[in-house]
Protein backbone atom coordinates (compact mmCIF):
# COMPACT_ATOMS: atom_id res chain seq x y z
CA UNK A 1 0.00 0.00 0.00
CA UNK A 2 1.20 3.48 -0.88
CA UNK A 3 0.24 6.66 0.94
CA UNK A 4 1.18 10.01 -0.56
CA UNK A 5 0.41 12.67 2.03
CA UNK A 6 0.55 16.42 1.31
CA UNK A 7 3.52 16.16 -1.03
CA UNK A 8 4.75 19.55 -2.21
CA UNK A 9 7.64 20.27 -4.52
CA UNK A 10 8.81 23.58 -5.94
CA UNK A 11 11.67 23.64 -8.43
CA UNK A 12 14.07 26.60 -8.44
CA UNK A 13 12.26 28.35 -5.57
CA UNK A 14 12.73 32.09 -5.32
CA UNK A 15 14.01 32.45 -8.90
CA UNK A 16 12.23 33.61 -12.04
CA UNK A 17 12.18 29.93 -13.09
CA UNK A 18 10.21 28.87 -10.05
CA UNK A 19 7.85 25.98 -10.83
CA UNK A 20 5.37 24.72 -8.29
CA UNK A 21 5.33 21.23 -9.73
CA UNK A 22 3.43 19.52 -6.91
CA UNK A 23 1.02 21.34 -4.62
CA UNK A 24 -0.11 19.42 -1.59
CA UNK A 25 -0.84 16.18 -3.40
CA UNK A 26 -2.41 13.38 -1.36
CA UNK A 27 -3.32 9.93 -2.66
CA UNK A 28 -3.90 6.58 -1.03
CA UNK A 29 -3.31 3.48 -3.07
CA UNK A 30 -4.56 0.16 -1.70
CA UNK A 31 -2.37 -2.88 -2.18
CA UNK A 32 -3.03 -4.43 -5.57
CA UNK A 33 -4.73 -1.41 -7.08
CA UNK A 34 -3.79 -0.08 -10.51
CA UNK A 35 -3.98 3.69 -10.81
CA UNK A 36 -3.81 5.55 -14.12
CA UNK A 37 -2.64 9.16 -14.06
CA UNK A 38 -3.58 11.50 -16.87
CA UNK A 39 -3.19 15.25 -17.28
CA UNK A 40 -1.91 17.98 -19.56
CA UNK A 41 1.77 18.50 -20.30
CA UNK A 42 3.58 19.90 -17.32
CA UNK A 43 0.80 19.06 -14.89
CA UNK A 44 3.23 17.23 -12.59
CA UNK A 45 2.62 13.57 -13.45
CA UNK A 46 6.27 12.65 -13.90
CA UNK A 47 7.21 14.79 -10.93
CA UNK A 48 4.80 12.83 -8.77
CA UNK A 49 6.29 9.53 -9.89
CA UNK A 50 9.80 10.87 -9.38
CA UNK A 51 8.89 12.00 -5.89
CA UNK A 52 7.68 8.51 -5.08
CA UNK A 53 10.77 6.91 -6.65
CA UNK A 54 13.09 9.25 -4.78
CA UNK A 55 14.69 11.10 -7.69
CA UNK A 56 14.48 14.13 -5.39
CA UNK A 57 13.22 14.68 -1.86
CA UNK A 58 9.89 16.55 -1.48
CA UNK A 59 9.77 19.95 0.21
CA UNK A 60 6.86 18.88 2.37
CA UNK A 61 4.76 15.79 2.98
CA UNK A 62 5.28 12.13 3.72
CA UNK A 63 5.47 8.97 1.68
CA UNK A 64 4.63 5.61 3.16
CA UNK A 65 5.09 2.39 1.24
CA UNK A 66 4.41 -1.10 2.56
CA UNK A 67 4.21 0.21 6.10
CA UNK A 68 7.53 2.07 5.98
CA UNK A 69 8.09 5.79 5.97
CA UNK A 70 10.27 6.23 2.90
CA UNK A 71 10.12 10.04 2.72
CA UNK A 72 13.84 10.49 3.42
CA UNK A 73 15.14 7.33 1.76
CA UNK A 74 17.65 7.69 -1.06
CA UNK A 75 16.49 6.57 -4.50
CA UNK A 76 18.60 3.42 -4.57
CA UNK A 77 17.26 2.36 -1.19
CA UNK A 78 13.65 2.75 -2.32
CA UNK A 79 14.44 0.57 -5.30
CA UNK A 80 14.21 -2.40 -2.95
CA UNK A 81 10.44 -1.79 -2.88
CA UNK A 82 9.86 -0.12 -6.26
CA UNK A 83 10.13 -1.36 -9.84
CA UNK A 84 10.29 1.24 -12.56
CA UNK A 85 9.90 1.66 -16.32
CA UNK A 86 10.80 4.99 -17.88
CA UNK A 87 9.37 6.78 -20.89
CA UNK A 88 12.64 6.59 -22.78
CA UNK A 89 13.45 3.00 -23.83
CA UNK A 90 17.14 3.87 -23.40
CA UNK A 91 16.73 4.70 -19.73
CA UNK A 92 15.84 1.30 -18.33
CA UNK A 93 18.64 -0.88 -19.61
CA UNK A 94 22.44 -0.82 -19.90
CA UNK A 95 22.95 -0.80 -23.69
CA UNK A 96 26.46 -2.21 -23.82
CA UNK A 97 25.71 -5.13 -21.57
CA UNK A 98 24.01 -8.33 -22.63
CA UNK A 99 20.32 -9.11 -22.19
CA UNK A 100 21.29 -11.79 -19.69
CA UNK A 101 23.47 -9.43 -17.66
CA UNK A 102 20.77 -6.76 -17.58
CA UNK A 103 18.19 -9.23 -16.33
CA UNK A 104 20.64 -10.71 -13.83
CA UNK A 105 21.11 -7.27 -12.32
CA UNK A 106 17.35 -6.86 -12.08
CA UNK A 107 17.06 -10.25 -10.41
CA UNK A 108 19.05 -8.73 -7.52
CA UNK A 109 17.14 -5.47 -7.30
CA UNK A 110 17.68 -3.96 -3.88
CA UNK A 111 19.85 -6.82 -2.65
CA UNK A 112 23.49 -6.60 -1.64
CA UNK A 113 25.88 -7.27 -4.51
CA UNK A 114 28.99 -9.21 -3.65
CA UNK A 115 31.57 -11.23 -5.49
CA UNK A 116 29.30 -14.10 -6.52
CA UNK A 117 29.02 -14.73 -10.28
CA UNK A 118 26.41 -12.49 -11.87
CA UNK A 119 25.32 -15.30 -14.18
CA UNK A 120 25.14 -19.04 -13.73
CA UNK A 121 23.43 -21.87 -15.57
CA UNK A 122 20.42 -21.97 -13.31
CA UNK A 123 19.77 -18.23 -13.59
CA UNK A 124 20.35 -18.30 -17.34
CA UNK A 125 17.84 -21.10 -17.77
CA UNK A 126 15.30 -19.20 -15.70
CA UNK A 127 15.73 -15.97 -17.57
CA UNK A 128 15.53 -17.74 -20.88
CA UNK A 129 12.17 -19.12 -19.74
CA UNK A 130 10.85 -15.76 -18.70
CA UNK A 131 12.10 -14.08 -21.87
CA UNK A 132 10.40 -16.78 -23.92
CA UNK A 133 7.09 -15.76 -22.35
CA UNK A 134 7.45 -12.37 -24.08
CA UNK A 135 7.06 -14.16 -27.43
CA UNK A 136 9.60 -11.89 -29.09
CA UNK A 137 12.12 -14.55 -30.00
CA UNK A 138 14.70 -12.95 -27.73
CA UNK A 139 15.41 -16.11 -25.75
CA UNK A 140 18.07 -17.12 -28.27
CA UNK A 141 19.82 -13.78 -28.12
CA UNK A 142 20.41 -13.42 -24.41
CA UNK A 143 24.14 -12.89 -24.87
CA UNK A 144 23.64 -10.01 -27.31
CA UNK A 145 24.03 -6.42 -26.17
CA UNK A 146 20.67 -4.93 -25.26
CA UNK A 147 21.55 -1.81 -27.25
CA UNK A 148 21.03 -3.81 -30.44
CA UNK A 149 17.32 -4.26 -29.72
CA UNK A 150 14.35 -2.15 -30.81
CA UNK A 151 12.67 0.27 -28.42
CA UNK A 152 9.69 -2.04 -28.00
CA UNK A 153 11.87 -5.00 -27.19
CA UNK A 154 13.83 -2.93 -24.70
CA UNK A 155 10.68 -1.70 -22.99
CA UNK A 156 9.33 -5.26 -22.76
CA UNK A 157 12.59 -6.36 -21.16
CA UNK A 158 12.61 -3.36 -18.83
CA UNK A 159 9.11 -4.31 -17.74
CA UNK A 160 10.30 -7.84 -17.12
CA UNK A 161 13.23 -6.46 -15.12
CA UNK A 162 11.10 -4.10 -13.04
CA UNK A 163 8.71 -6.89 -12.11
CA UNK A 164 11.26 -9.70 -11.78
CA UNK A 165 11.22 -9.56 -7.99
CA UNK A 166 7.60 -8.70 -7.31
CA UNK A 167 7.88 -5.02 -6.29
CA UNK A 168 5.66 -3.44 -3.65
CA UNK A 169 4.99 -0.72 -6.20
CA UNK A 170 5.38 -0.52 -9.96
CA UNK A 171 5.91 2.92 -11.54
CA UNK A 172 5.27 3.31 -15.26
CA UNK A 173 5.80 6.77 -16.78
CA UNK A 174 4.39 6.86 -20.33
CA UNK A 175 6.40 3.75 -20.99
CA UNK A 176 4.83 3.22 -24.41
CA UNK A 177 4.91 6.85 -25.57
CA UNK A 178 8.12 6.44 -27.56
CA UNK A 179 7.00 3.26 -29.34
CA UNK A 180 5.29 2.65 -32.66
CA UNK A 181 1.60 1.66 -32.30
CA UNK A 182 2.21 -2.06 -32.76
CA UNK A 183 5.01 -2.25 -30.20
CA UNK A 184 3.02 -0.05 -27.87
CA UNK A 185 0.10 -2.49 -28.05
CA UNK A 186 2.39 -5.39 -27.38
CA UNK A 187 3.96 -3.71 -24.36
CA UNK A 188 0.55 -2.65 -23.02
CA UNK A 189 -0.72 -6.21 -23.23
CA UNK A 190 2.37 -7.40 -21.42
CA UNK A 191 1.91 -4.70 -18.79
CA UNK A 192 -1.67 -5.82 -18.24
CA UNK A 193 -0.70 -9.49 -17.97
CA UNK A 194 2.14 -8.96 -15.52
CA UNK A 195 0.16 -6.64 -13.26
CA UNK A 196 -2.79 -9.06 -13.25
CA UNK A 197 -0.68 -12.11 -12.63
CA UNK A 198 1.37 -10.64 -9.78
CA UNK A 199 -1.39 -8.34 -8.47
CA UNK A 200 1.09 -5.47 -8.47
CA UNK A 201 0.24 -2.11 -6.95
CA UNK A 202 0.81 0.20 -9.90
CA UNK A 203 1.02 3.89 -10.77
CA UNK A 204 0.95 4.44 -14.51
CA UNK A 205 1.10 7.72 -16.39
CA UNK A 206 -0.37 7.85 -19.88
CA UNK A 207 -1.55 10.30 -22.50
CA UNK A 208 -3.70 7.66 -24.17
CA UNK A 209 -7.36 7.85 -23.16
CA UNK A 210 -7.79 4.34 -24.57
CA UNK A 211 -5.18 3.02 -22.16
CA UNK A 212 -6.63 5.03 -19.30
CA UNK A 213 -10.08 3.56 -19.83
CA UNK A 214 -9.11 0.00 -20.60
CA UNK A 215 -6.42 -0.53 -17.98
CA UNK A 216 -6.52 -0.23 -14.24
CA UNK A 217 -9.23 0.37 -11.70
CA UNK A 218 -8.88 4.06 -10.97
CA UNK A 219 -8.09 7.25 -12.91
CA UNK A 220 -6.58 10.40 -11.50
CA UNK A 221 -6.39 13.57 -13.55
CA UNK A 222 -3.72 16.06 -12.57
CA UNK A 223 -3.60 19.74 -13.32
CA UNK A 224 -1.07 22.34 -12.25
CA UNK A 225 0.51 20.12 -9.67
CA UNK A 226 -2.75 19.08 -8.08
CA UNK A 227 -5.20 16.21 -8.30
CA UNK A 228 -8.18 17.59 -10.22
CA UNK A 229 -10.34 14.47 -10.61
CA UNK A 230 -10.17 11.10 -8.93
CA UNK A 231 -12.43 8.54 -10.61
CA UNK A 232 -13.06 5.36 -8.65
CA UNK A 233 -15.63 2.61 -8.35
CA UNK A 234 -18.86 3.06 -10.29
CA UNK A 235 -17.80 6.41 -11.72
CA UNK A 236 -14.59 4.85 -13.04
CA UNK A 237 -16.55 1.88 -14.48
CA UNK A 238 -18.83 4.18 -16.47
CA UNK A 239 -16.17 6.44 -17.91
CA UNK A 240 -15.43 6.45 -21.65
CA UNK A 241 -12.53 8.05 -23.54
CA UNK A 242 -14.85 10.86 -24.71
CA UNK A 243 -15.66 11.75 -21.10
CA UNK A 244 -12.00 12.08 -20.29
CA UNK A 245 -11.39 14.21 -23.37
CA UNK A 246 -14.26 16.42 -22.33
CA UNK A 247 -12.66 16.97 -18.96
CA UNK A 248 -9.45 17.97 -20.74
CA UNK A 249 -11.45 20.47 -22.80
CA UNK A 250 -12.99 21.87 -19.64
CA UNK A 251 -9.56 22.40 -18.18
CA UNK A 252 -8.38 24.05 -21.35
CA UNK A 253 -11.38 26.36 -21.52
CA UNK A 254 -10.96 27.36 -17.90
CA UNK A 255 -7.30 27.95 -18.55
CA UNK A 256 -8.09 30.23 -21.50
CA UNK A 257 -10.66 32.02 -19.46
CA UNK A 258 -8.13 32.46 -16.70
CA UNK A 259 -5.59 33.92 -19.04
CA UNK A 260 -8.02 36.28 -20.76
CA UNK A 261 -9.27 37.44 -17.38
CA UNK A 262 -5.72 37.97 -16.25
CA UNK A 263 -5.03 39.91 -19.41
CA UNK A 264 -8.04 42.05 -18.92
CA UNK A 265 -7.16 42.75 -15.31
CA UNK A 266 -3.67 43.64 -16.37
CA UNK A 267 -4.92 45.97 -19.08
CA UNK A 268 -7.33 47.72 -16.81
CA UNK A 269 -5.48 47.99 -13.58
CA UNK A 270 -1.75 47.77 -14.09
Amino acid sequence: MLTIANITKTFNPGTPNEVRALRDVSLRLEAGSFLLIIGTNGSGKSTLLNAVAGTFLPDLGTLTLAGQNITRWAEHRRAKLIGRVFQNPFSGTAPNMSIAENLAMAARRGQPRGLGWALNHKLKAELRDRIRSLNMGLENRIDNAIGSLSGGQRQALTLLMASWLKPELLLLDEHTAALDPKSADQVIRLTHDIIQRDKLTTLMVTHSMQQAVHLGDRIVMMHRGQVLHDLQGAERARVRPEDLLKRFDDVRRREQLDSTVAEMLQRNYV
Binding site: N96, R113, A118, M161
Partner: protein
Protein backbone atom coordinates in the same frame (compact mmCIF):
# COMPACT_ATOMS: atom_id res chain seq x y z
CA UNK B 1 68.03 -7.24 -27.05
CA UNK B 2 68.36 -5.82 -23.54
CA UNK B 3 66.70 -2.69 -24.82
CA UNK B 4 63.70 -4.63 -26.10
CA UNK B 5 63.41 -6.69 -22.94
CA UNK B 6 63.65 -3.59 -20.80
CA UNK B 7 60.97 -1.84 -22.86
CA UNK B 8 58.70 -4.87 -22.70
CA UNK B 9 59.09 -5.11 -18.93
CA UNK B 10 58.27 -1.45 -18.43
CA UNK B 11 55.37 -1.88 -20.86
CA UNK B 12 54.04 -4.70 -18.69
CA UNK B 13 54.47 -2.68 -15.51
CA UNK B 14 52.63 0.24 -17.10
CA UNK B 15 49.94 -2.18 -18.30
CA UNK B 16 48.61 -1.96 -14.75
CA UNK B 17 48.38 1.80 -15.26
CA UNK B 18 46.54 1.13 -18.53
CA UNK B 19 44.10 -1.19 -16.74
CA UNK B 20 43.43 1.48 -14.14
CA UNK B 21 42.88 4.12 -16.81
CA UNK B 22 40.64 1.70 -18.72
CA UNK B 23 38.56 1.25 -15.57
CA UNK B 24 38.04 4.96 -14.91
CA UNK B 25 37.93 6.34 -18.47
CA UNK B 26 36.19 3.53 -20.28
CA UNK B 27 34.12 1.58 -17.76
CA UNK B 28 32.97 4.69 -15.90
CA UNK B 29 33.45 7.39 -18.48
CA UNK B 30 35.18 9.26 -15.68
CA UNK B 31 38.19 11.34 -16.79
CA UNK B 32 40.24 10.65 -13.68
CA UNK B 33 43.46 12.66 -13.59
CA UNK B 34 44.34 11.43 -10.10
CA UNK B 35 46.52 8.85 -11.84
CA UNK B 36 49.44 11.27 -12.29
CA UNK B 37 49.62 11.63 -8.53
CA UNK B 38 48.71 8.11 -7.48
CA UNK B 39 51.33 6.42 -9.65
CA UNK B 40 53.97 8.53 -7.89
CA UNK B 41 52.33 7.87 -4.53
CA UNK B 42 52.64 4.12 -5.08
CA UNK B 43 56.30 4.56 -6.00
CA UNK B 44 57.01 6.90 -3.09
CA UNK B 45 55.39 4.75 -0.41
CA UNK B 46 57.07 1.58 -1.65
CA UNK B 47 60.47 3.23 -2.04
CA UNK B 48 60.52 4.79 1.39
CA UNK B 49 59.41 1.54 3.04
CA UNK B 50 61.96 -0.52 1.15
CA UNK B 51 64.77 1.87 1.97
CA UNK B 52 63.72 1.37 5.60
CA UNK B 53 64.12 -2.38 5.05
CA UNK B 54 60.49 -3.34 5.04
CA UNK B 55 59.74 -6.53 3.15
CA UNK B 56 59.28 -5.53 -0.53
CA UNK B 57 56.06 -7.50 -0.87
CA UNK B 58 54.57 -5.59 2.02
CA UNK B 59 55.96 -2.31 0.73
CA UNK B 60 54.30 -2.99 -2.62
CA UNK B 61 50.97 -3.70 -0.96
CA UNK B 62 51.31 -0.44 0.98
CA UNK B 63 51.86 1.39 -2.31
CA UNK B 64 48.68 -0.18 -3.68
CA UNK B 65 46.80 0.87 -0.54
CA UNK B 66 48.03 4.44 -1.00
CA UNK B 67 46.49 4.49 -4.47
CA UNK B 68 43.24 3.10 -3.10
CA UNK B 69 43.04 5.96 -0.62
CA UNK B 70 43.83 8.54 -3.30
CA UNK B 71 41.10 7.15 -5.55
CA UNK B 72 38.61 7.13 -2.69
CA UNK B 73 39.39 10.77 -2.02
CA UNK B 74 38.70 11.73 -5.62
CA UNK B 75 35.51 9.68 -5.52
CA UNK B 76 34.36 11.38 -2.32
CA UNK B 77 35.07 14.86 -3.69
CA UNK B 78 33.04 14.03 -6.76
CA UNK B 79 30.08 12.22 -5.20
CA UNK B 80 29.67 13.79 -1.77
CA UNK B 81 30.80 17.33 -2.54
CA UNK B 82 29.45 17.33 -6.10
CA UNK B 83 32.70 18.61 -7.58
CA UNK B 84 33.14 18.06 -11.29
CA UNK B 85 34.97 14.78 -11.95
CA UNK B 86 37.88 16.28 -13.82
CA UNK B 87 38.37 18.93 -11.14
CA UNK B 88 38.18 16.37 -8.32
CA UNK B 89 41.05 14.48 -9.93
CA UNK B 90 43.07 17.64 -10.46
CA UNK B 91 42.62 18.64 -6.83
CA UNK B 92 43.76 15.27 -5.50
CA UNK B 93 46.61 15.08 -7.98
CA UNK B 94 47.85 18.51 -6.95
CA UNK B 95 47.58 17.69 -3.28
CA UNK B 96 49.41 14.42 -3.84
CA UNK B 97 52.45 16.27 -5.14
CA UNK B 98 53.04 17.65 -1.65
CA UNK B 99 52.04 14.37 -0.03
CA UNK B 100 54.56 12.52 -2.15
CA UNK B 101 57.33 14.95 -1.21
CA UNK B 102 56.47 14.45 2.44
CA UNK B 103 56.39 10.68 2.08
CA UNK B 104 59.80 10.60 0.44
CA UNK B 105 61.30 13.46 2.45
CA UNK B 106 63.11 14.57 -0.71
CA UNK B 107 62.40 14.59 -4.41
CA UNK B 108 64.17 11.33 -5.21
CA UNK B 109 64.64 8.06 -3.29
CA UNK B 110 67.19 5.64 -4.78
CA UNK B 111 66.82 1.89 -4.23
CA UNK B 112 70.10 0.70 -5.63
CA UNK B 113 71.29 -1.68 -2.97
CA UNK B 114 67.96 -2.62 -1.48
CA UNK B 115 66.03 -5.86 -1.68
CA UNK B 116 63.15 -5.21 -4.06
CA UNK B 117 60.70 -7.46 -5.84
CA UNK B 118 63.06 -7.20 -8.83
CA UNK B 119 66.04 -8.56 -6.90
CA UNK B 120 63.80 -11.20 -5.36
CA UNK B 121 62.72 -12.30 -8.82
CA UNK B 122 66.37 -12.52 -9.78
CA UNK B 123 67.12 -14.67 -6.72
CA UNK B 124 64.29 -17.00 -7.58
CA UNK B 125 65.65 -17.29 -11.12
CA UNK B 126 69.09 -18.11 -9.70
CA UNK B 127 67.66 -20.87 -7.54
CA UNK B 128 65.54 -22.45 -10.25
CA UNK B 129 68.11 -22.28 -13.01
CA UNK B 130 71.12 -23.01 -10.76
CA UNK B 131 73.12 -20.09 -12.10
CA UNK B 132 75.11 -17.35 -10.43
CA UNK B 133 73.96 -13.78 -9.99
CA UNK B 134 74.65 -11.40 -12.87
CA UNK B 135 75.06 -14.33 -15.24
CA UNK B 136 73.78 -14.21 -18.78
CA UNK B 137 71.27 -16.70 -20.11
CA UNK B 138 71.04 -18.06 -23.58
CA UNK B 139 67.44 -17.95 -24.71
CA UNK B 140 66.91 -19.27 -28.24
CA UNK B 141 70.33 -18.03 -29.22
CA UNK B 142 70.00 -14.57 -27.62
CA UNK B 143 72.05 -13.52 -24.67
CA UNK B 144 69.88 -12.17 -21.93
CA UNK B 145 70.82 -10.90 -18.46
CA UNK B 146 69.36 -13.05 -15.70
CA UNK B 147 67.89 -10.11 -13.88
CA UNK B 148 66.18 -8.78 -17.01
CA UNK B 149 64.79 -12.19 -17.86
CA UNK B 150 63.60 -12.87 -14.32
CA UNK B 151 61.80 -9.53 -13.96
CA UNK B 152 60.22 -9.90 -17.37
CA UNK B 153 58.83 -13.33 -16.53
CA UNK B 154 57.68 -12.17 -13.10
CA UNK B 155 55.86 -9.17 -14.60
CA UNK B 156 54.29 -11.32 -17.28
CA UNK B 157 52.90 -13.62 -14.60
CA UNK B 158 51.78 -10.79 -12.33
CA UNK B 159 50.10 -8.74 -15.06
CA UNK B 160 48.46 -11.85 -16.49
CA UNK B 161 47.16 -12.76 -13.06
CA UNK B 162 45.84 -9.28 -12.26
CA UNK B 163 44.29 -8.89 -15.71
CA UNK B 164 42.52 -12.20 -15.20
CA UNK B 165 41.35 -11.12 -11.76
CA UNK B 166 39.98 -7.86 -13.16
CA UNK B 167 38.19 -9.75 -15.92
CA UNK B 168 36.64 -12.16 -13.41
CA UNK B 169 35.67 -9.26 -11.17
CA UNK B 170 33.68 -7.71 -14.00
CA UNK B 171 31.59 -10.87 -14.16
CA UNK B 172 30.58 -10.83 -10.51
CA UNK B 173 27.45 -9.14 -9.20
CA UNK B 174 29.48 -6.20 -7.96
CA UNK B 175 31.51 -6.02 -11.16
CA UNK B 176 28.44 -6.02 -13.43
CA UNK B 177 26.90 -3.31 -11.25
CA UNK B 178 30.09 -1.30 -11.76
CA UNK B 179 29.94 -1.69 -15.53
CA UNK B 180 26.27 -0.74 -15.51
CA UNK B 181 27.07 2.35 -13.46
CA UNK B 182 29.20 3.58 -16.33
CA UNK B 183 26.75 2.40 -18.97
CA UNK B 184 23.51 3.74 -17.49
CA UNK B 185 23.56 5.15 -13.95
CA UNK B 186 19.83 5.85 -13.97
CA UNK B 187 19.08 2.20 -14.61
CA UNK B 188 21.39 0.76 -11.99
CA UNK B 189 20.12 3.22 -9.40
CA UNK B 190 16.58 2.10 -10.15
CA UNK B 191 17.81 -1.43 -9.44
CA UNK B 192 18.95 -0.47 -5.96
CA UNK B 193 22.65 0.26 -6.39
CA UNK B 194 24.23 3.34 -4.85
CA UNK B 195 25.97 4.95 -7.79
CA UNK B 196 28.06 7.08 -5.42
CA UNK B 197 29.38 4.03 -3.63
CA UNK B 198 30.26 2.28 -6.86
CA UNK B 199 32.10 5.33 -8.21
CA UNK B 200 34.15 5.59 -5.03
CA UNK B 201 34.90 1.88 -5.12
CA UNK B 202 35.80 1.95 -8.80
CA UNK B 203 38.14 4.92 -8.48
CA UNK B 204 39.75 3.26 -5.46
CA UNK B 205 40.35 0.11 -7.49
CA UNK B 206 41.56 2.05 -10.52
CA UNK B 207 44.03 4.16 -8.55
CA UNK B 208 45.13 1.14 -6.55
CA UNK B 209 46.16 -0.54 -9.80
CA UNK B 210 47.86 2.64 -10.96
CA UNK B 211 49.78 3.03 -7.70
CA UNK B 212 50.79 -0.63 -7.91
CA UNK B 213 52.16 0.13 -11.33
CA UNK B 214 54.19 3.01 -9.85
CA UNK B 215 55.40 0.83 -7.01
CA UNK B 216 56.70 -1.83 -9.40
CA UNK B 217 58.19 0.79 -11.71
CA UNK B 218 60.19 2.28 -8.83
CA UNK B 219 61.52 -1.15 -7.90
CA UNK B 220 62.39 -1.97 -11.48
CA UNK B 221 64.15 1.27 -12.33
CA UNK B 222 65.72 1.53 -8.87
CA UNK B 223 64.32 4.87 -7.71
CA UNK B 224 61.19 6.85 -7.01
CA UNK B 225 61.01 10.42 -8.21
CA UNK B 226 58.41 13.04 -7.41
CA UNK B 227 58.17 13.96 -11.11
CA UNK B 228 57.66 10.46 -12.43
CA UNK B 229 53.86 10.71 -12.66
CA UNK B 230 53.66 13.68 -14.99
CA UNK B 231 51.68 12.83 -18.10
CA UNK B 232 51.05 9.26 -17.04
CA UNK B 233 47.26 9.47 -17.58
CA UNK B 234 47.81 10.31 -21.20
CA UNK B 235 50.30 7.49 -21.44
CA UNK B 236 47.75 5.04 -20.03
CA UNK B 237 45.06 6.39 -22.30
CA UNK B 238 47.31 5.95 -25.34
CA UNK B 239 47.81 2.31 -24.36
CA UNK B 240 44.08 1.76 -23.96
CA UNK B 241 43.38 3.34 -27.34
CA UNK B 242 46.01 1.23 -29.09
CA UNK B 243 44.53 -1.82 -27.41
CA UNK B 244 41.02 -0.97 -28.56
CA UNK B 245 42.21 -0.51 -32.12
CA UNK B 246 44.04 -3.85 -31.98
CA UNK B 247 41.23 -6.00 -30.62
CA UNK B 248 38.42 -4.11 -32.37
CA UNK B 249 35.80 -5.56 -30.04
CA UNK B 250 33.79 -4.40 -27.08
CA UNK B 251 34.29 -7.55 -25.03
CA UNK B 252 35.78 -6.87 -21.65
CA UNK B 253 38.30 -9.71 -21.70
CA UNK B 254 39.65 -8.65 -25.07
CA UNK B 255 39.79 -5.01 -24.05
CA UNK B 256 41.81 -5.78 -20.93
CA UNK B 257 44.17 -7.91 -23.01
CA UNK B 258 44.28 -5.10 -25.54
CA UNK B 259 45.26 -2.57 -22.89
CA UNK B 260 48.17 -4.79 -21.83
CA UNK B 261 49.34 -5.36 -25.39
CA UNK B 262 48.83 -1.68 -26.18
CA UNK B 263 51.00 -0.68 -23.24
CA UNK B 264 53.83 -3.01 -24.26
CA UNK B 265 53.60 -2.04 -27.91
CA UNK B 266 53.61 1.64 -27.12
CA UNK B 267 56.65 1.25 -24.92
CA UNK B 268 58.47 -0.71 -27.61
CA UNK B 269 57.65 1.92 -30.22
CA UNK B 270 58.97 4.61 -27.91
CA UNK B 271 62.16 2.65 -27.22
CA UNK B 272 62.78 2.21 -30.92
CA UNK B 273 62.00 5.85 -31.69
CA UNK B 274 64.39 7.00 -28.98
CA UNK B 275 67.02 4.68 -30.37
CA UNK B 276 66.56 6.29 -33.77
CA UNK B 277 67.32 9.63 -32.28
CA UNK B 278 63.96 10.99 -31.13
CA UNK B 279 64.55 13.78 -28.62
CA UNK B 280 63.27 12.48 -25.25
CA UNK B 281 61.98 15.96 -24.49
CA UNK B 282 59.48 15.58 -27.33
CA UNK B 283 58.06 12.34 -25.96
CA UNK B 284 55.14 13.80 -24.05
CA UNK B 285 54.26 16.15 -26.88
CA UNK B 286 54.16 13.25 -29.30
CA UNK B 287 52.15 11.10 -26.88
CA UNK B 288 49.61 13.86 -26.41
CA UNK B 289 49.49 14.37 -30.17
CA UNK B 290 48.92 10.68 -30.67
CA UNK B 291 46.02 10.57 -28.18
CA UNK B 292 44.54 13.67 -29.81
CA UNK B 293 44.58 12.03 -33.22
CA UNK B 294 43.18 8.80 -31.82
CA UNK B 295 40.33 10.67 -30.15
CA UNK B 296 39.47 12.77 -33.18
CA UNK B 297 40.11 10.34 -36.01
CA UNK B 298 37.02 8.10 -35.55
CA UNK B 299 34.60 11.06 -35.66
CA UNK B 300 36.52 12.57 -38.56
CA UNK B 301 36.39 9.33 -40.54
CA UNK B 302 32.67 9.00 -39.83
CA UNK B 303 32.13 12.46 -41.22
CA UNK B 304 34.05 11.61 -44.37
CA UNK B 305 32.15 8.40 -45.03
CA UNK B 306 28.55 9.62 -45.40
CA UNK B 307 29.81 12.52 -47.48
CA UNK B 308 31.29 10.04 -49.91
CA UNK B 309 28.14 7.91 -50.09
CA UNK B 310 25.54 10.66 -49.79
CA UNK B 311 22.68 10.47 -52.24
CA UNK B 312 22.32 13.36 -54.67
CA UNK B 313 18.92 14.23 -53.17
CA UNK B 314 20.57 14.91 -49.83
CA UNK B 315 23.32 17.01 -51.28
Amino acid sequence: MTLLIGATTIGLILALLAMGVYLSFRIFNFPDITADGSITLGAAVTAILISNHVDPGLATLAGFAGGVLAGMTTGLLHTKFKINGLLSGILVMTALYSVNLHVMGKSNVPLLNETTLATQAENLGMKWLHVAADSDLNVFGWTVGLRDAATLVAMLLLVGFLGMLLYLFFRTNLGTAMRATGDNPQMIRALGVSVDFIIILGLALSNGLIALSGSLLAQYQGFADVQMGIGMVVWGLASVIIGEALVGSSRIGLLITGAVIGSVLFRLLVAIALRWGLNPNDLKLITAGFVFVALVAPAFLRKLKPAATAKPSEA
